[in-house]
Subunit: 342 residues, 2 copies
Amino acid sequence: MANDNENKSIKMRDVADHVGVSVATVSRALRNPEQVSPAVRARIAAAIDTLGYLPDPAARALASTRSDLIAVILPSVSNNVFADVMDGIYAAAEGTRYSVQLGYSRYSPLSEENLTKLFLRQRPAGIVVTGIDQTDATKTLLGQANCPVVQIMETGPEPYDRMIGFSHYDAARVATAHLIAQGYRAPGFLGARMDPRTQRRLHGFRDELRAQGLEEGRRVHTTTRPSSVTLGSYLLGELLSVAPETDAVFCINDDLALGAMFEAQRRNLRVPESLGICGFNDMEMMGAAEPALTSVRTFRREMGEGAIQMILDALAEKAPASEPVLDLGFEVVARTSTQRGG
Amino acid sequence: MANDNENKSIKMRDVADHVGVSVATVSRALRNPEQVSPAVRARIAAAIDTLGYLPDPAARALASTRSDLIAVILPSVSNNVFADVMDGIYAAAEGTRYSVQLGYSRYSPLSEENLTKLFLRQRPAGIVVTGIDQTDATKTLLGQANCPVVQIMETGPEPYDRMIGFSHYDAARVATAHLIAQGYRAPGFLGARMDPRTQRRLHGFRDELRAQGLEEGRRVHTTTRPSSVTLGSYLLGELLSVAPETDAVFCINDDLALGAMFEAQRRNLRVPESLGICGFNDMEMMGAAEPALTSVRTFRREMGEGAIQMILDALAEKAPASEPVLDLGFEVVARTSTQRGG
DNA sequence: TTGTAGGCGTTATCAT
DNA sequence: ATGATAACGCCTACAA
């Protein structure tokens, strides 16, 4: 039973005295248990428990030139996509000696650079960054970081170290191909924020249209404003007024798709007959909507978990872990909203 | 211009040498600038800039027995309610010398207790916890923490220190009153997770019904499962099969409300005529839905920002800040989904 | 296997 | 206003 008493913070010294060994031994018992005899180890464990000793992370970090922090840099707090990633990250870090230090770049590469400097200064056990569009300075910093570095959310040719994600370009192409396969001949594109990953989806959309011999016309509508359901409704309205021939929309994310669907209902546009709708990410609501909405499923939680696991493996010097780049892929989940029937 | 060179981490010693002063002076220039002559201060600032010096947080924390971390403990990663709170928290911490250390309790008081111990061990500059339902051990720890403590999301009688939130009980009563005022006579209740805050909403619902002389019958449907849109659809189905007289639902959150709405559409139940729907939190999608959904607006971002501001104020020893408990209130946003017309 | 002792980069106390 | 110089709590060679 742990003893939750004594606020006068207990230090390693106290544990050592209590057991009758030196602090060095206690330290070893904690860091390299195999170097200390089972008997002593047990007594130390007991003492730690009864005294309620908790190591001081600052002292540990200072002395070992290595903290137990895993730094994570994400673009956004409020975007539910990253909420899921974080969910995976925290789940994977739970129970390990490492804790997560989160930073938000607000989609700004410069802000990301500052966070990187700040975090690297703490000599983290590992670092997780989003995507591949860092500034040159950040690239340099991460390139020579002396801890595992994992990039998430994307795949690409030159990882700093390791990478886990999927191809946004491919995902968009396949989604677009799905729309076309369903018989839609004038699909439009709704985009918000237009960060690099979103841009790559747009490229995928365009390339697929072209590859299938279709024109995009004036059916690509984007804005740099952050996405929202309301914005989805608005963008669909814009799109339809400029390109009334539009018979389907590929939306950059599920919020826009939901907004587009609501707007279609308001205009008495039948989904999927008159308008096909495809979202991106496949958040939980997509399958629950009426009509159920098609989306591209991405493995957000898995990316978070996988990133931490990669770092843990690297720290444990497990086998060079096969490929440095892990592609988790994606999956078009076809639902009613694009079921036009060829 | 900052100079992004030299990875060989630069320390205070280096900038001291560069300027020709002692490290003590550099330290002062950083912590108590007013104790250093303007001339020297300027030269130090310049040196810091050209050398690209960044202080080591571990060393600083160890020496000062005080870290620049603000610990934040929230129940959930993926719940968008807390995403908004975090948004406010990070926004308010941005630009200060403090950084945020986040922990997730997964709605477990025990987990919250462990996190509290862990975080307190780092001698944080401040700590933010969610709600008022801590374990006794946690209460003790927070009660004697020697840093500002702010509780968010609720109001209550005995804050450890400071508190910013609103009354979930009152919010539920007012929302229920709104349904009744709209002419609904058999409102039901849909709840998920049923954490303490949710329970208080249920109490509010019940008390208001009783106060208005209405019976709740068998119209309260709850589950401890985490909420989702799908679950909202499911719960409405359950509710209607057990209590077909139900003419409105007060949902514990917006996801459930959205799910209920989709389910109503599937059953060709007209909203708001045959079924009134009211959510909770007023997430962005509520106003964008078709029909637009009534909800209880809560000030999530503001709670996050406010909590950090309270801590900053306390650290700056600003005036005792009026009341220790700040009630941000709530607001029933009446939309189409409850517009039955009295 | 265990103990000794120096050092990690800052802060803070005391002088000067 | 500035400079020495002990802490701060732990880790890690090096010794024993």
